[in-house]
Symmetry: C2
Subunit: 450 residues, 2 copies
């Protein structure tokens, strides 16, 4: 079935767009309005109207690597000395519970046909819930287009929402205090709140665990750390503190917010993530792990290490420009800036440098350059997609990024849960170098395995 | 469990309000915004935060009477001569398919403890879908309040959404043309569109039947009646024409819209409702049926007739003010206007006269008075409710109306489906004499059987 061919009929396109908007709105695949009038108003999340073709074998490989990446991040987060040496802040080792919800993001690299890792996210990982719903939406829309069973089987099942809820539930159960809650640390005015609310609702339905939503400022005021290392928020004991904030400097308005984060860290609650896990996801660590022998240091299993390595793109730190490898990479980037990207250490997106900007920044040099890593630019295939935003459909040339979730729940040395946890495809216009779904550039999508 | 007692705690009230808004938004219990910016934006439907106490025995009685009321309306709609004599328009008898989706609305009458019928709706019956979802919402919220199994059992199951979809599916199947569709006739700019869209989505999921949404003006342009009496809309054959519009004069902008209605009526499609069914729901007919012997004429089964009669409130036509019964009722209304209501024949609400206005209209008299019926005013119990609109909770004295749905599918003389089809409770502020949920006065609610 050539899906896009069917959409050439304007009536089919109009009807399917309405189907998509209605289904998404009926099933909570929604976001807050930019200007909420009235409060509580929502609109469907930005969507691709049909799933994007994706090579099946490559998709399965990325799924199979989810556990190895979780093991790698876990081993790095456990190694205080390594984090200290690599990042130079204090990384307090966590004896207590760790809940990791990770997403490893990839793009297909056209010149080689391989899948290359863009980054691995260890904090505030979003779109497990809306991404899972998008798979259901696309199943519905394929049915409306008259797809048969074989074609619908090309949409892989996506249990990302249940997996996140079950990991939160497993951590809360392992914490072992009746009535203890999950504290979700959120940003004020979050528009992507239904992606978060679905985890709360599903956690309640499947595990009977309640969630409190608090900003870091509210935690600074209300969270108390007892001598028993229990964290109490408004009378409830926190079994899990789940960060959907706290990864950009703006989330820490002042000392009080930093102190609240420290109180969480020193408590015996499961943290998603701990500070060590958050640090293990830094691009600086990603760059260090790309050096020969580093992955093998953390993953003694050779096959596992090799599985992880095959997804690595070229990646160079810029602290020591005299280093021969670094100098060679910088030289190549100055000659051919289109084949590279300059990425800042900090999370949150929106600050990458490409092309002429990249070249200018490299030429300017200076000590600030060490805050960036230089990365091989991945050249993904260009697809044709219909993107639906605010009820309106727009067709465009697009490129897609595949995310593979994994969850890991560990108490001290005991790993309670470790598994792949669904997937996510985000698609954006090919001419847009930057931006996520929540920022208004991309749309939620699914892989149509070919 | 005294639900409202728990809500006296401001934190419990705040948390439960958020729970209600989130659950409703996740599950498509939503309406369009009054000023949709962007297009496709929605907000949760107005809601009661907790279900309203309702006597269990009375609720069961009303459920049990659903079939008898459907049989009554069906018999009336079949009797051209009766409709002609009662209403004086031409009532073309329909040989073909009839799909009835009825809702009989009741209120508890405090002086006698009995349930009295407010009206029976035969066209454009709304809130089967959002009402069914409200029952699920209240089940969820009771759980969040810590209700046990016994308390949750006090919320009767409500399959109103599936019943409507199944009735539409049964009619489409009986029509017997592969690929034939349901044409839903809608008002332009409908805010309550998700109540309608749920019927479409569920019909597709359960029966694989598609729905086209068209205004009467669009039908006037696009609907063609063939010599074979098939109605074709945009290339599709209409198995069912389902009116969610066409019951107020404003829906018929001109002759073209009246002609479109006639084309539908002359086609062999199942009509929900036929003109005869729509007429059978007129308040004038309701008033005529209240006269001695009239119900018995249409329902030969004595027990069935008695079952229906017990819900009748006092009801008097005003064409012949010299009639002794009428004169006595008008005299009583002038002395005690608070015990009566003056209702216009037309549907859609918003025009009833009460109190001083009622007395003034009766005193003014004139031939226009015949367009009204005088009705015993039902005096329902006053409850205390928390109503949630646009994310905000407001507590108020309220009164509630119970609706019992029924469906009937008939082809010629053969009744294919006839059954009760769920319920609806709407609650409004006690000081508001008028208005529905869609108009912004009432909220969706559920019965908590006591």
């Amino acid at each position: 079935m050539d899906l896009l061919q069917k959409l050439k009929d304007p009536q089919v396109l109009k009807d399917l767009t309405e189907d998509a908007v209605v289904w998404a709105t009926q099933h909570g695949l929604v976001m807050g309005l930019a200007t909420p009038t009235p409060a509580a108003a929502v609109v469907h999340a930005p969507l691709a109207l049909t799933p994007v073709p994706f090579p099946a074998g490559t998709f399965r490989e990325a799924e199979a690597a989810a556990g190895a990446f979780a093991a790698l991040v876990d081993a790095v987060a456990e190694d205080d000395a390594y984090l200290l040496a690599t990042l130079r802040p204090t990384a307090a080792h966590d004896d207590f519970g760790v809940l990791a919800h990770l997403r490893s993001d990839y793009m297909l690299h056209t010149p080689t046909g391989s899948l290359l890792q863009v980054e691995i996210n260890t904090i505030g990982v979003s779109f497990a819930c809306l991404g899972g719903l998008t798979a259901c939406l696309h199943g519905h829309l394929l049915g409306r287009l008259g797809a048969g069973a074989a074609e619908r089987a090309a949409l892989p099942p996506n249990d990302a929402l249940d997996q996140l809820a079950d990991a939160l539930g497993a951590a809360a159960q392992a914490y072992g205090v009746e009535g203890a809650v999950v504290v979700m640390v959120v940003q004020p005015g979050e528009r992507n709140l239904y992606d978060q609310q679905w985890a709360q609702t599903r956690l309640w339905e499947r595990h009977g665990v309640r969630t409190l939503r608090r900003t870091l400022s509210e935690l600074a005021r209300d969270a108390e750390l007892g001598a028993d290392r229990r964290l109490r928020v408004g009378g409830a004991v926190a079994a899990v503190v789940y960060f959907r904030a706290g990864y950009v400097p703006e989330d820490y308005a002042g000392e009080a917010e930093w102190a609240a984060r420290e109180r969480v860290e020193r408590s015996d609650a499961f943290k998603c993530p701990s500070v060590a896990y958050q640090l293990a996801g830094a691009k600086k660590v990603q760059q260090d792990l790309a050096r020969p022998g580093q992955v093998e240091r953390f993953l003694p299993d050779e096959a596992q290490a090799a599985l992880v390595r095959r997804f690595f793109a070229g990646l160079w730190g810029l602290e020591d420009l005299a280093d021969p490898d670094t100098a060679a990479a910088v030289g190549a980037a100055l000659r051919d800036p289109g084949a590279f990207v300059l990425k800042p250490q900090r999370e949150g997106g929106g600050h990458n440098l490409y092309g002429a900007e990249l070249r200018a920044r490299l030429e300017r040099g200076g000590p600030g350059l060490g805050a960036y890593v230089l990365m091989q630019r991945i050249l993904p295939p260009i697809n044709r997609s219909v993107m639906v935003r605010g009820g309106e459909a727009v067709e465009a040339d697009t490129l897609s990024e595949l995310g593979i979730f994994s969850v890991l729940v560990r108490r001290g040395g005991e790993v309670l849960v470790s598994r792949g946890a669904g997937h996510l495809v985000r698609t954006k216009a090919a001419e847009s170098d930057e931006g996520g779904v929540a920022a208004g550039y991309g749309v939620l999508d699914s892989p149509f395995l070919v």
